[in-house]
């Protein structure tokens, strides 16, 4: 089987929708923690197909949206250094820093290249030994192993013109910060690809401590509807706990080899999340054994950062407290072409998802 087509099956989608409709619903709020889920839901228009009692809210799971402005400012500072190229995933190039985005900095002469994999970063560094490459690493547990492998490889090859500027983040601590806030959320769709690495055990403590229902979901329409069905059942029956809908990929223990590679290269640190602030143990820092490839150690840059733009509700939107349409900038000063806040930058950011897809009703 090809693992894709069957999970887009129209008949199964209809079955799930009709089963969801048969549940004895009351108004419930479900947060999809992962930006990829937000994207898939909006792309298929699943939120419109669900009964009106079920409200879907987007959480803090878009790495671009939670990247603080200072990180972008520093990445730009690296890109402006002589004989230095800043490498990054495409998602980051349009994110506004305090002054400009990487894309704008590039047109002003900064050296910025978009890569798809850290393997490309290594191969650039090998080909041009007299040029420095700084990789701006963003993303969660799913993306961090690619960075860890590149660091290990750089160490083996003594590739000294390759540096990592690291802003990897981890999911449960940020989720806990939200849950602890006592948000009016009835249940959570858990991030399937993060859990392929970490296992569902990542959320055990959180779920037990706060007695919340959580379903770890895949990304196809069938996956998401099945997860909403399972989660709604749990909510209606006042059950808490973890169910794995995405069983073809996610196990309770996850990928132990990947976990040990992550642990070998990174250690937990306090990370600053845009809109949420500093959260202890929610970031990954490069261990001292790899300090030689840590841009912040080897090549510190300082920037003068500004406070977040006035009136931008990104923080509260990320927490699911406010809707993008409640923000004074939304659709006016803040559009996908000229984003004010990070939630408008990425196509999976809550604000852009609203901007692009919500206006259809």
């Amino acid at each position: 089987m090809n693992f894709t087509t069957p999970f887009r099956n129209q008949e199964l989608i209809r079955t799930l929708l009709s089963q969801i409709n048969k549940l004895k619903l009351r108004p419930i709020k479900i947060m999809e923690v992962c930006g990829g889920h937000t994207m898939a839901i909006r792309k298929h228009g699943l939120h419109q197909l669900l009964p009106s009692e079920i409200e879907l809210l987007s959480g803090p799971g878009c790495p671009v949206c939670v990247t603080e402005q200072t990180f972008v400012d520093k990445a730009i500072a690296y890109a402006q250094l002589p004989k230095t190229t800043l490498l990054t995933y495409g998602d980051l190039v349009r994110v506004p820093g305090c002054y400009q985005s990487l894309s704008e900095a590039r047109s002003a002469g900064a050296s910025v290249e978009v890569i798809y994999s850290t393997q490309q970063a290594l191969s650039l560094a090998r080909k041009q030994p007299n040029h420095r490459f700084v990789f701006a690493a963003i993303g969660f547990e799913t993306t961090a192993p690619g960075t860890a492998l590149a660091l290990q490889q750089a160490s083996v090859e003594k590739l000294n013109n390759f540096l990592v500027y690291c802003a990897h983040k981890t999911m449960p601590e940020a989720m806990e910060a939200l849950v602890a806030d006592g948000l009016p959320i009835d249940g959570y769709l858990g991030p399937g690809h993060v859990c392929s690495i970490t296992g569902s055990k990542l959320f055990d403590r959180l779920v037990a401590r706060y007695s919340i229902p959580l379903v770890i979901s895949g990304f196809e329409a069938v996956d998401l509807l099945q997860s909403v069905f399972l989660l709604t059942q749990m909510i209606l029956q006042n059950e808490s706990g973890i169910q794995i809908q995405y069983r073809r990929l996610v196990s309770p223990d996850g990928n132990r080899k990947a976990q040990s590679i992550l642990n070998e290269v990174f250690e937990p640190c306090t990370a600053t999340w845009r809109g949420l602030g500093a959260i202890p143990h929610s970031g990954l820092k490069i261990r001292n054994t790899y300090a030689q490839w840590d841009a912040e150690v080897m090549l510190p840059v300082s920037v003068h950062s500004l406070p977040d733009p006035k009136g931008c509700l990104c923080g509260e939107i990320l927490k699911g407290i406010r809707k993008p349409t409640e923000c004074a900038h939304f659709g006016k000063k803040c559009t996908p072409e000229h984003p004010v806040g990070a939630c408008m930058v990425s196509s999976e950011g809550t604000c852009q998802a609203y901007y692009s897809y919500q206006q259809t009703e």
Binding site: R42, G45, D91, R106
Partner: protein, 338 residues
């Protein structure tokens, strides 16, 4: 944010390109002929109306599966004329060459231009060449301008099209072949079923559609910015909206796969031999039959219609049945991890 520098997104064919055109070029060059900002401008000729258009071509790599920059330069301009209801007649060709470009490559490009020009029944009647220092351009840039004649029976193309709810939207074939062929060549992607650029002159297809000229309200060449950008342009600020069905839009499997891998939306990918037609309600079967009689239109299909339900908006019904608002491309198209 500061926008005092040209960014790659300004050349992407999406919203930024559109703003650059309307806020700079069209502002300075303002005149009645230019104002509609269509694929060609209509100019009063001695005997018949003329269509006039220009386009510049830059591409990396210069040679790609299914064609080269020369074919693009001829077909692109021919297509702008063809979808404007014109019979393409004459082209100019301006070349900017990088010092060090191999003459053999240049000849290959020029020969391909000659073949496409003959195929499209146009003549290249004037040209120019400049050479810049190594590093000041990327191998070769070509500009072509084209003039076509508007037959009397196509005169309605020179006026604002009169779209009515119920009018149908046709697409001449699969989306994204050109963009993915070029990407695959640039990134060394191997595709089990090779995807070739769809670069081709559309004038024969346009002529087939126009055998009954009154049936066709408007045609558009779907290039950079992709289908979504064109659909938005068509209905933005209009009294009608557009509704299309995702299920009906043909996309080849390898194109779909590469899109999923890199996080591209095929609706925004560039094409070089595809057109969109708005046709009168009830004529669609007739026109599809004529389009499909030509190889370039073999996969032509009905993808949607004009509606009065949501004026000014282009909406796509997803495979699953939900609805999604289409917008122009934002910035440049880059691979994503999310």
């Amino acid at each position: 944010m500061n926008n005092h520098l040209i960014q790659l997104g300004h050349g992407s064919g999406g919203r930024m390109s559109r703003n650059l055109i309307t806020q700079l070029f069209a502002r300075y060059f303002a005149n009645d002929t230019l104002r509609p900002l269509g694929d060609s401008s209509y100019i009063a000729g001695q005997t018949s109306q003329l269509a006039f258009t220009t386009d510049s071509y830059v591409i990396d790599p210069v040679f790609f599966p299914g064609g080269n920059i020369g074919q693009l330069a001829v077909c692109g301009t021919v297509n702008d004329l063809a979808v404007s209801g014109a019979i393409p007649r004459f082209l100019s060709a301006g070349f900017i060459l990088e010092e060090g470009l191999s003459l053999k490559d240049l000849e290959k490009i020029v020969a391909a231009m000659a073949v496409e020009a003959a195929n499209a029944k146009v003549q290249i009647v004037t040209g120019d060449t400049k050479v810049v220092r190594r590093g000041q351009c990327d191998k070769i840039y070509i500009n072509t301008s084209g003039i076509g004649e508007i037959p009397e029976k196509h005169a309605h193309f020179t006026r604002k099209p009169a779209m009515q709810p119920g009018d149908k939207i046709l697409l001449s074939g699969s989306l994204g072949d050109h963009a993915i062929a070029v990407l695959a060549a640039r990134e060394n992607l191997y595709l089990e079923e090779p995807i070739l650029s769809d670069v081709a002159p559309l004038n024969h297809l346009a002529q087939l559609a126009l055998e009954q000229p009154e049936q066709v309200l408007q045609m558009r060449d779907i290039t950079r910015g992709g289908l979504a950008t064109i659909l938005v342009e068509l209905c933005e600020n209009q009294s009608f909206g557009i509704e299309v069905l995702e299920n009906e839009i043909p996309i080849k499997q390898p194109v779909r796969s590469v899109c999923e891998l890199f996080g591209f939306d095929p609706l925004y990918l560039a094409n070089e031999g595809k057109m969109l037609l708005i046709v009168k309600n009830g004529t669609e079967k007739d026109i599809l039959k004529r389009l499909r009689s030509n190889l370039a239109g073999a996969n032509a299909t009905l993808i949607g219609e004009i509606t009065d339900r949501h004026p000014g908006k282009a909406i796509m019904q997803s495979v699953v049945g939900g609805k999604r608002l289409l917008d122009m491309l934002h910035g440049e198209l880059v691979p994503r991890i999310c």
